[in-house]
């Protein structure tokens, strides 16, 4: 089978689940290799978000990598901007820029800044990095689409840590008032913030009142839950979001921080650090082995 990889064909690619899974494994490999090359960077969050990003960019978003400023394109905002290398890896594979450019991540003069910058990298729809800020521009885009009579959809990926920021709930409140159904938030619900909370027993990363779906519903949103590492489950949640009219949807995607590499999964120590040469080799062995999906293509 020939994989339609790194081909900047416009529109959703309609890939089967097996191919999406291979692409996800390859994207994770790019994340680890890029952070290893840069000598620093986030890993846990990008790996928890990878399957959702692959699914959106290959099978959902109506985009044209050769024309990143196409005005009718679907919009995507990575509100948890510190997972930038996850997004860059998927964008490279989707054909926005050469995969080789991932080696410039975090370097001076690189288009691939530590946090996504719309002024620097074509294809980034909104600059992010200061947490809690991505949903509001997404609402602005949704309102703009309505005003312009355009059918594009706006997707915003949130981190479960960043929804501690008050601005998220400002945006939820106002989005609820405007009945926007062309806006979908996807919560990367990996349950591991960077530092956590003081606790009688030391420290805990468990939230005390951890019911995000209830919070979104209280602001008038439709919610749907999915397994953020299962492409069929992601597809079903996306379909449920797009078929909901008259209100925005939040997809609560249950994920695992560091997903895909056994010794990184669920370990907050991999929030941001560079793997050693041996760790990188072991991780690649688990993720793709010899299956280089790009060379196959």
């Amino acid at each position: 089978m020939t994989t339609t990889l790194s081909m900047p064909a416009p529109g959703p690619q309609g890939l089967d689940i097996a191919t999406l899974e291979r692409l996800s494994a390859q994207a994770r490999r790019h994340v680890l290799e890029s952070v290893f090359t840069a000598g620093a960077g986030h890993i846990g969050g990008p790996l928890s978000a990878t399957d959702i990003l692959v699914h959106l960019y290959f099978n959902e978003l109506n985009i044209d990598p050769a024309n990143p400023r196409w005005e009718d394109r679907d919009r995507f905002i990575l509100s948890k901007g510190h997972s930038s290398i996850g997004l860059y890896s998927v964008m490279a594979m989707r054909g926005y820029f050469p995969v080789s450019q991932l080696a410039t991540f975090d370097a001076v003069d690189s288009l691939l800044q530590g946090h996504p910058c719309m002024k620097t990298l074509p294809g980034i729809d909104m600059s992010t990095g200061s947490l809690g800020q991505g949903l509001s521009p997404g609402l602005g885009m949704a309102l703009a689409a309505r005003k312009l009579d355009k059918t594009f959809h706006t997707w915003v990926m949130l981190g479960d840590g960043e929804i501690q920021e008050g601005q998220i709930w400002e945006a939820c409140f106002v989005a609820g008032r405007y009945d926007v159904d062309n806006l979908t938030a996807i919560l990367d619900y990996n349950g591991l913030p960077q530092f956590g909370w003081p606790d009688p027993n030391g420290y805990t990363r468990e939230e005390k009142y951890d019911r995000p779906a209830e919070k979104f519903r209280a602001f008038g949103w439709h919610t749907v839950e999915c397994d953020g590492h299962d492409h069929a489950s992601i597809a079903a949640a996306i379909a449920a979001a797009k078929s909901t009219k008259g209100r925005p949807t939040c997809i609560i995607a249950h994920t695992i921080k560091g997903k895909g590499v056994s010794f990184m999964e669920g370990d907050f120590n991999w929030h941001a650090k560079s793997p050693t040469t041996d760790e990188l080799a072991a991780a690649i062995d688990e993720l793709t082995g010899d299956d280089d999906v790009e060379k196959a293509a």
Partner: protein, 320 residues
């Protein structure tokens, strides 16, 4: 540097800049269908409600949530709209500052940030609502044009210029009626200062509505035989360095005057220019590193040192 040497305070009509702003926004909206207005539940105070009546389909109420207000504007700007965002400057320039920095200034999005109720005259609301640091904030923010008009006519002209410019811009607005001295056909040029009085004894440099009180001071000084030049600097950023140096060259003594903190505002900007290019004696009239309080306008101007008399005192002190 533009020269407008025949402006007079005598018999000048008064107009509240906020009224001028609301009306001008309606007119701009007639001409530009991509202009939208976003409000933070203060439309009847800021006069954004005037636009809401003219163009209800392009008026977006964002509620009491300033951080989201800025983000939504950025999203709309990224889709080709020109959002004019309106709330009190105290909240815009501080509460939503990180949002302005990350999603407006850093990507360079064309959002017009309109800060109402600046300076000390804020309708007896007091220190929470008096914005005395907004110029300092935006001068330090890369890429944000900063404009403080002197009266309703200059405000209208500045808004036309802003709409023709694609840079993110902060517009400093005031609340209460003040004399209108600029001509109605005045054309505003972003970055140009305006010479309002010629004189070689002392140079008075001011911005915003404080320029009206500075003109009054110049007239009082003239009656004493002191010929003061008056340079109005409506654009704090980019700053008209040549205009400021020309006045320093002509007078060798500079007083700055502003309804803003002397730290980081016009006084600081002029001091930076003079220190680097042409060391010149100067004094700064403005808020002396303090917060304000609520009270009647005249009493506040007097207590916080912003009257024409205070400008005259500074001038006399320097010349003696």
């Amino acid at each position: 540097m533009i020269e407008l040497l025949d402006l007079t305070l005598a018999n000048a009509p008064t107009e509240a800049p906020r009224d001028a702003w609301g009306n001008a926004l309606c007119d701009l909206g007639d001409r530009h269908t991509n202009l939208v207005v976003l409000d933070g539940d203060l439309a009847n105070s800021t006069k954004a409600d005037t636009f809401a009546k003219c163009h209800p389909d392009r008026f977006y109420e964002m509620g009491i949530a300033e951080q989201n207000l800025i983000g939504v504007a950025a999203g709309m700007a990224s889709c080709g709209f020109v959002p004019w965002v309106s709330t009190f400057a105290a909240f815009l320039a501080k509460r939503a500052l990180d949002q302005i920095r990350v999603v407006v200034a850093q990507p360079g999005l064309n959002v017009k940030l309109c800060g109402g109720y600046t300076g000390i005259l804020t309708g007896k609301t007091g220190k929470t609502h008096q914005s005395v640091e907004d110029i300092a904030v935006f001068r330090a923010m890369p890429g944000v044009v900063t404009i403080a008009p002197a009266d309703g006519n200059e405000l209208r002209a500045a808004m036309t210029a802003m709409m023709a410019d694609e840079r993110p811009t902060y517009l400093r607005l005031t609340r209460d009626p003040s004399p209108v001295v600029f001509p109605s056909d005045y054309a505003f040029t972003i970055g140009e200062s305006v010479l309002l009085r010629n004189g070689s004894d002392i140079g008075l440099i001011s911005t915003g509505v404080q320029t009206i009180r500075t003109l009054e001071a110049a007239d009082l000084l003239a009656a004493e035989g002191i010929q003061a030049a008056v340079l109005h600097v409506p654009t704090l950023k980019p700053l008209d360095i040549e205009g400021i140096l020309a006045i320093a060259e002509r007078t060798n003594a500079i007083i700055t005057a502003e309804d803003h903190s002397i730290i980081g505002g016009l006084g600081s900007a002029v001091a930076e220019v003079l220190a680097e290019h042409r060391p010149t004696r100067m004094r700064r009239v403005g808020w002396q590193d303090t917060f304000g309080e609520s009270g009647p306008n005249d009493a506040l101007l007097k207590k916080y040192g912003l009257t024409a008399g205070h400008v005259c005192d500074a001038a006399r002190a320097m010349l003696n």
